[in-house]
């Protein structure tokens, strides 16, 4: 049986050998996006530890930085089987590089790494970081739901281990949001929601239909970007509702 047909029928593969070149390339790109986003996200969050308003918050922020870096490492280990040089990879891009805060949502960072574009924007203080973490964490949850079904089994397994910890990070953000509101930071929260929501939305992309179809045939994607974006918006609205907040725009 031809391997492309096997994949199209829902087959799983477990080793880099014998994979079609385009599959290999798309899979590596998918993994690079995850690794780059995690490293860039952790790098941005590292500075925020010092802005945390208390010991618990400092611990939570440090834990998020630690675990996101670890998640990057786990997926990078899967990439290593394809020849990626993991030691060099971890340091070859300036992960802290950011656009000016005022850059529009469509702006892109002029570096070749594959981070989601949202990780090109700088955080602005603790409450802003909490809101970003909630908005992005909710999106990551939707994307991870898709990624655990990926046809490359070693990646699916790595993501399965990562998923509950990513969900906890989003849970920490939800707690942080409640605390920020209790501190009377409602305006700040609303401003940050308005800032981050369109920037996170960019990450769902639209993509050329042919490419999406191919990713689906390869078993590298199971949900359409529009469906994912809708799920994200619904999940985010649900997280905001108890606080009397709603999705901007």
């Amino acid at each position: 049986m031809d391997i492309e047909r096997y994949l199209a029928e829902g087959g799983r593969v477990t080793s880099p050998q014998g994979l079609p070149p385009r599959y290999r390339a798309e899979l590596l790109r998918l993994m690079a996006t995850f690794v780059d986003s995690s490293l860039a996200g952790a790098a941005g969050f590292a500075d925020i530890i010092n802005a945390a308003p208390g010991i618990e918050a400092r611990i939570a922020a440090a834990k998020i930085v630690l675990e996101k870096t670890d998640h990057a490492g786990r997926v990078l280990r899967v990439m290593a089987d394809f020849g990626a040089d993991t030691a060099r990879y971890a340091t070859h891009h300036p992960w802290t590089g950011r656009l000016p805060r005022s850059a529009p949502p469509e702006a892109r960072l002029d570096t070749p790494d594959q981070r989601l574009s949202v990780f090109a924007f700088p955080l602005d203080g603790w409450t802003d970081a909490v809101v970003m973490n909630l908005v992005m964490g909710t999106a990551a949850g939707v994307q991870i739901d898709d990624l655990v079904q990926v046809s490359y089994q070693p990646l699916a397994e790595a993501v399965r281990e990562i998923a509950p910890r990513e969900a906890r990070h989003t849970g920490l953000a939800a707690e942080g949001l409640a605390q920020a509101l209790a501190r009377g930071d409602r305006d700040r929260v609303a401003a940050s929601l308005a800032y981050w929501t369109p920037r996170v939305a960019q990450g769902f992309g639209s993509g050329r239909p042919e490419r999406l179809a191919q990713l689906t045939r390869f078993g590298l994607r199971h949900t359409a970007p529009e469906t994912q974006a809708a799920r994200w918006r619904a999940a985010l609205a649900q997280a905001l509702a108890p606080h009397g907040l709603s999705l901007p725009g």
Binding site: Y6, G11, R12, G18, A25, G83
Partner: protein, 355 residues
């Protein structure tokens, strides 16, 4: 990055007519600590061409030895050589164990593990079965083992011995295509229908904690469909597929030819996703940048020669890489370049991302 390490062959035993079990002694045993279900990738030079082939470890984790099973593939240079010419005392080179077809073992577990093996797909499963039975005294294993006929059953005696050693904890169901047994259930191919029948009469899928499948693609798809239909989720189903994707022989690499590039810029013919386009390159431009500038959706990620996402093959002409941290020598010898690092050194170059 994984490196090749030397190993000495200490035994080569025939398990059936066209398969051998090879025992290996690594110079660096620590590098070959394995998890049951993993495989080794060997390399060997055949008439000046390097071939790499992966074979699953069939030894259990407590067997105290490193063993792989190698079944001869029609037209397969490495497997034929291993079956016909490999002798004790020979030296081989292999990368440390790789693969994720395994499950963490814990003596406290009381699991029912269901394995499906097709032909030589038994090799990693044998390692898993042995290790689970040895390390998890409260776990049980059911193995559905598909073969053409009685004489093609690899490790038949080892499985019998395991059943006797772990009384009541290993159940082996042989399903044979030919050599029909009297029971219809155990005759034919292991496909979706056969799984349904087995689940109705023989195995309770609700009782299964984890399933391992290693065999030909259609068999794996059928089994997986049936397992999913019976409520197992993706995290409970492990697939192993690699043997069938390996070609018999490599094609000879295309030697670079053509004169050194002048300043006028190179003409590049780039094939991507089956379509070919010709672009005129700027001096010093990389193949990747030329492809992107030509509106080709060429894959890349790190643009630093680290990740291998942008790999393509030079079919005609030649290119030089500024940095290469990802491709190995044999890949470079076969004409692969990292397109983010590769600048043509000829007036004309033909590259293919689809190979």
């Amino acid at each position: 990055m994984a490196r090749f390490h030397p190993l000495t062959v200490t035994a080569v035993e025939k398990t059936i007519r066209d398969a051998v079990c090879v025992t290996l002694e690594p110079e660096d045993p620590a590098a070959f600590a394995f998890r049951p279900g993993q495989y080794l990738t060997f390399r060997r030079d055949f008439d000046g061409e390097e071939l790499r082939r992966s074979y699953s470890i069939c030894a259990g984790i407590d067997d105290g030895r490193l063993q792989v099973g190698i079944k001869r593939v029609e037209g397969g240079a490495f497997s034929t050589w291993a079956n016909e010419a490999l002798r004790p005392g020979d030296r081989l080179e292999a990368m440390p164990p790789m693969g994720s077809f395994h499950t963490p073992l814990d003596a406290a577990n009381a699991r029912h593990i269901l394995g499906f093996a097709g032909g030589s797909g038994i090799t990693p499963l044998l390692s898993i079965v042995k290790s689970v039975l040895a390390r998890e005294p409260r776990s049980r294993v059911t193995l559905v083992y598909a073969n053409r006929g009685v004489n093609t059953i690899m490790f038949r005696e080892e499985l019998e011995d395991l059943k006797n050693l772990h009384l009541g904890r290993l159940n082996v169901i042989h399903v044979l295509e030919q050599d029909a047994t009297e029971i219809e259930l155990f005759t034919g191919r292991v496909d979706e229908a056969k799984c349904e029948a087995l689940f109705r009469h023989w195995i309770d899928p609700a009782d299964v904690d984890l399933a391992f499948i290693c065999g030909p693609e259609p068999m794996m798809l059928g089994i997986a469909r049936s397992l999913r239909a019976h409520g197992l989720d993706d995290a409970q189903i492990r697939f192993e597929l690699f043997a069938s994707g390996q070609p018999g022989r490599l094609k000879a690499p295309v030697a670079g030819c053509g004169a050194a590039a002048g300043g006028a810029g190179t003409e590049a013919r780039i094939t991507l996703d089956g379509a070919t386009r010709t672009v005129r390159m700027e001096p010093g431009q990389t193949l990747l940048d030329a492809a992107l500038a030509g509106d080709l959706d060429a894959p890349y990620a790190c643009k630093a020669g680290v990740c291998s996402t942008c790999r393509c093959k030079v079919i005609e002409g030649a290119a030089e890489m500024a940095a290469n941290h990802a491709l190995e020598d044999y890949e470079v010898a076969r004409g692969y370049v990292l397109s983010c690092q590769a600048v043509p050194t000829t007036d004309r170059i033909v590259v293919d991302y689809d190979q």
